[in-house]
């Protein structure tokens, strides 16, 4: 365990921020370029996870446990969001026989 802990010693905080930034932006790109509603949901999960990693890194950096508690709450929130969101997607599929978000462009106005 000690050797495992020592592996992070030389990683600057910048690199954690950089990693989270890149993964968050990949999530944003996924939301923009896909039309399958489930893949869009997965991109949102990717963004949530990038923020979780950043909160954990800050929490360890500052020696404060509050950040890790926030990550726990974000995970509970994500579980609730996925349950409701997927139920809505199933409803949309039953009504329109498709999960293409372009079918839903009536919501635009």
């Amino acid at each position: 365990m000690e050797s495992l802990i020592n592996t992070i010693h030389a990683v600057p905080l910048n690199h954690y921020i950089l990693l989270s930034t890149i993964i968050f932006s990949i999530g944003v790109i996924g939301v923009l370029i896909r039309r399958n509603a489930i893949v869009i949901f997965m991109s949102v999960e990717l963004m949530l996870n990038a923020v979780n990693l950043l909160l954990t890194a800050f929490s360890v950096y500052r020696g404060d446990a509050s950040g890790q508690v926030f990550v726990f709450f974000i995970m509970a929130l994500a579980a609730a969001e996925v349950a409701v969101g997927l139920a809505i997607i199933v409803m949309i599929y039953r009504n329109t026989n498709s999960i293409d978000i372009n079918v839903l462009n009536r919501l635009k106005w």
């Binding site: 932006s25 370029i33 997965m42 994500a78 609730a80 999960i99």
Partner: protein, 165 residues
């Protein structure tokens, strides 16, 4: 140290595969791998409680939910939506500009101190439980109500018959 960069590279690689895979099932399987890389990051940060919760909740519960829904709605080749190339290119360019802007704003920050574990017991269940049930007791209870209402809402939405409405 090199472990971090290897895992970081793999998580970026798999997350790009998530958004570029044609088949949604492959997309979900790459998402499992991405979340596994995040679990390894938590272990490297000595946040053992979060590593276990990430493993159980994300890789166990949420991704099974995704896979179930995907199989429930029975997508086939004809119903797979095709997006025009211009819109895809516009999305990639927009996201790329977001990356460039964020990285450029980080550039001016300078190099920070390395992440050092001041308190090795910080992420253990014992320590987090003490914080969770002292300072964050009310948010914890509220989140249980949130989960209950989400469950009731999901059941209510998914069992409604569209023909009867």
């Amino acid at each position: 140290m090199s472990t971090f960069y290897f895992i970081a590279f793999l998580s970026i690689f798999f997350s790009i595969l998530v958004i570029s895979a044609k088949n949604p099932v492959h997309s979900i399987l790459y998402l499992v791998l991405t979340f596994f890389m995040f679990t390894i990051q938590y272990i490297l940060l000595n946040a053992q409680f979060l590593a276990i919760v990430n493993f159980i909740v994300y890789m166990g519960a949420i991704l099974v939910l995704f896979l179930y829904t995907l199989m429930l709605i029975n997508l086939n080749k004809e119903s797979e939506p095709i997006k025009p190339f211009m819109v895809k290119a516009a999305g990639v360019v927009g996201g790329g500009i977001l990356i460039v802007a964020l990285v450029a704003s980080l550039k001016s920050m300078g190099v920070s101190n390395p992440v050092v574990l001041k308190d090795p017991g910080l992420g253990l269940v014992k320590n987090l439980g003490k914080v969770l049930f002292n300072e964050f007791l009310l948010p914890f209870e509220v989140s249980s109500i949130l989960l209950l209402s989400a469950m009731v809402g999901a059941v209510l939405l998914a069992t409604k018959d569209p023909k009867a409405a």
